[in-house]
């Protein structure tokens, strides 16, 4: 009797010791559900339980900030969007990972440099491990571009072949042409105020060679390129987008595309497997991915990080090591995940299943992220508001961008980055 009691007691004790539960706030995107499906393996291997709280992107920042400021974070592990990759380390909320990496010989050389710069290092210190990428590109309907009647008409009208657009002007023209000549919308846009419009518009800005700030952190969003990018953006919005696009976020835009009502979208590369899935989409088999017309799109990505005030730092690191191990990283990719590592992008099995992944790697290598600094979130907020005002016609493009530039300068000065 007593023997059994001892056994039970020690078992309970062991459970108590290993029965750590890691709580993680995750965005409601395919990658999250892929990892969730693999979690039982981690739990079986380590005895550490992992609990995902899955929410919409727009709720995450507001949920995370109070937790990160409090003495005890209820989340033991974070996924950090590149929008916050400047803010969180600058505020001192993240645990530097250099020591962990060195101690356990964790190989970070396999990650794309663009990913490591975006969601890895901040001011020379490693705070995050790149988790997945959402570099943006052009998703379009192959069948529309192959339509003989349309091709003929386009050639008559413009004296050129109707092909995949390679410059932004081409793209705008093709979208307008298709909306005028078919019952499809040219571009399923996501122009809702806030981060949807900013993300989509950034592709237009970057591909023309524009940027938010120059080298000295002076705002240059209102220069000639900025104005031109915005003009083209609003032209598509007016002539070649669904009528409700000004209130669309990525889900709304996806629905329009998946219903087969649009020719193209400037969107996240992970949209493609979703649109190619016959269970979820009417256009499966008809869609393809290309780089943003003009070459440079918006890079985006998430990184794993450990909050400074986490209760279970070692367990969190244990999880990162597992989820980013070559085997799991590859399996995530095979399940439709968006990799961040060379070896996964070019893995034979992965490429066989997703032939466009090398193209995604190309996107992610050349794409540019939004400026990362302490006030990135405010910057997005300001630019999103002003773009939305310009799009509704309540302000002229120049006025809106000038206001944005003024506030961007203020933020750069506040962060101590603005140089004379």
């Amino acid at each position: 009797m007593r023997k059994w009691a001892v056994v039970w007691l020690s078992l309970l004790l062991a459970l108590g010791l290993f029965g750590v539960t890691l709580r993680v706030l995750m965005e409601d995107v395919p990658e999250t559900h892929i990892i969730k499906a693999l979690l039982p393996e981690f739990e079986a291997k380590t005895g550490i339980k992992v609990e995902f709280e899955i929410v919409q992107y727009s709720d995450m920042h507001a949920k995370l900030v109070p937790q990160l400021m409090s003495p005890n974070c209820q989340y033991d592990l974070l996924e950090v969007d590149n929008y916050w990759a400047g803010e969180f380390p600058a505020a001192g909320w993240l645990e530097p990972l250099d020591e962990y990496v060195k101690r356990d010989n964790f190989d970070i050389s396999v990650y794309l440099p663009s990913m490591l710069n975006m969601v890895g290092y901040y001011n020379g210190k490693l705070y995050m491990i790149p988790m997945y990428n959402y570099a943006m590109g052009l998703i379009y309907r192959k069948d529309v571009l192959e339509d003989e009647a349309l091709k003929k008409k386009y050639k008559e009208q413009y004296g050129r072949e109707l092909t995949v657009p390679r410059t932004l002007e081409d793209y705008v023209q093709i979208c307008e042409f298709i909306q005028a000549n078919t019952d499809l919308y040219g571009s399923a846009m996501q122009a809702q105020r806030g981060d949807p419009i900013v993300m989509e518009w950034s592709n237009y800005l970057f591909t023309l060679g524009g940027d938010y700030y120059d080298d000295k952190w002076h705002a240059r969003i209102n220069d000639e390129i900025g104005v031109k990018a915005t003009e083209l953006y609003i032209r598509v919005l007016k002539n070649a987008a669904p009528p409700g696009a000004l209130s669309f976020n990525l889900d709304d835009a996806y629905r329009v595309m998946a219903q087969g009502k649009a020719f193209s979208m400037i969107s996240y590369n992970w949209m493609l497997p979703q649109l190619d899935d016959p269970k979820k989409s009417k256009v499966a088999g008809k869609v393809a991915l290309e780089p943003m017309p003009g070459g440079i799109g918006l890079n985006g990505g998430w990184g794993w990080a450990i909050p400074k005030n986490s209760q279970h730092k070692e367990e969190a690191w244990e999880f990162i090591k597992w989820v980013e191990s070559p085997d799991i990283a590859k399996r995530r990719a095979l399940m439709g995940g968006a990799p961040t590592r060379f070896d996964v992008f070019t893995d034979e099995e992965v490429v066989k299943k997703y032939p466009w992944y090398p193209k995604v790697m190309w996107l992610a290598m050349y794409a540019k992220p939004v400026p990362e600094f302490q006030y990135s979130a405010q910057m997005i907020e300001v630019v999103g508001r002003e773009l939305s005002l310009a799009a509704t016609g309540e302000k002229t493009i120049k006025e809106a961008l000038d206001t944005a530039a003024k506030e961007l300068d203020k933020l750069a000065k506040l962060a101590g980055l603005w140089k004379k």
């Binding site: 920042h61 105020r193 669904p242 000004l246 209130s247 669309f248 006030y375 509704t392």
Partner: protein, 299 residues
């Protein structure tokens, strides 16, 4: 005698305090304490990135808030929204309540249907309506299309978006008005009506000379409560439009939310909140002064 009565009174009031203490403690910790904290915060350079009381700014935050053109826009949107939503809900609600007061059969069915939108969370309501209002895939435009009315751009047109939010809010909140007013109507005394009928008063006369004067306290209470709630509308805007397109549906509470969690500027957001509090207080005080006089005072 006097001494004893005093001690009874004292022990009575002590007992009273003892009874109130628990709820008072809760109220202080969840209402008063945050209010005081945000008041203090509003005078400092307190932000999420730098959460300290190192920089005393005095009224700087208030000045910044009041000189921000977007603040004035939000205030205007809010006032427009509150006035329209409350008056429309009141007019429609009173009308429906009068009709329901006459209904004899199926009363329970009507009541159940009426309470349904009210018990739904505004976020759920917003999401449902967002689908209904979808310009391409929405049911509403489909039916309008059958009638030959072209697709309405419910949420992405800067004038229409405001009205769409208004319609959804009315759809959800009107039951509150109806139920409150109906409760008032049901509890009205029957005698004045009988007397008026005998004297040969018409239905219209009964409405204007009996029902409305007797209903006044209930009506005022309903309007004030609804006004206070309407000022706080946030969830619907959040789900339906995010304050857009542009800034056409940016009500003040949503403006403050954005300042706090997107702008991370807690201090200025707190100052703006206090301005909002001031506006609401002003509204309520004026409403009480002007409208809330008992019928006896008038006579």
């Amino acid at each position: 005698m006097g001494k004893r009565r005093g001690s009874i009174k004292r022990s009575e009031s002590l007992a009273g305090w003892a009874f109130v203490a628990p709820s008072l403690a809760v109220m202080i910790s969840v209402v008063a304490a945050p209010l005081v904290f945000s008041l203090i915060v509003s005078f400092y350079g307190y932000t999420f990135v730098n959460p300290t009381f190192n920089v005393f700014l005095g009224f700087e935050n208030y000045k910044n808030a009041l000189t921000d053109p977007y603040f004035w826009n939000s205030l205007w949107v809010t006032v427009k929204f509150v006035v329209l939503v409350v008056s429309l809900e009141f007019a429609l609600g009173f009308f429906v309540a009068l009709m329901l007061d006459r209904v004899v059969s199926f009363k329970r069915v009507y009541y159940t249907i009426l309470t349904l939108p009210m018990v739904m969370s505004p976020v759920a309501v917003g999401l449902i309506w967002k689908m209904l209002l979808h310009p391409d895939l929405g049911v509403l435009n489909y039916f309008l299309g059958l009638l030959g009315i072209g697709p309405v751009n419910w949420l992405a047109d800067s004038t229409m978006a405001f009205w769409s939010v208004l319609i959804v809010d009315i759809w959800q909140q009107i039951s509150f008005m109806i139920l409150l007013l109906l409760a008032g109507l049901v509890s009205l005394p029957k005698e004045p009506y009988e007397a008026a009928t005998i004297d040969g008063a018409s239905e219209m006369q009964k409405l204007f000379y009996i029902t409305i004067p007797l209903m006044r306290p209930v009506m005022v209470a309903a309007i004030i409560i609804r006004t206070i709630f309407a000022f706080r509308t946030y969830d619907l805007v959040y789900v339906l439009t995010r304050g857009g397109p542009g800034i056409s549906t940016e009500v003040l509470s949503y403006f403050i939310y954005r300042k706090t969690f997107m702008g991370l500027n807690l201090a200025e957001a707190a100052a703006t909140s206090y301005v909002l509090l001031g506006v609401v207080m002003l509204f309520v005080v004026v409403a009480f002064r002007v409208v809330y006089r008992s019928p006896h005072e008038e006579m």
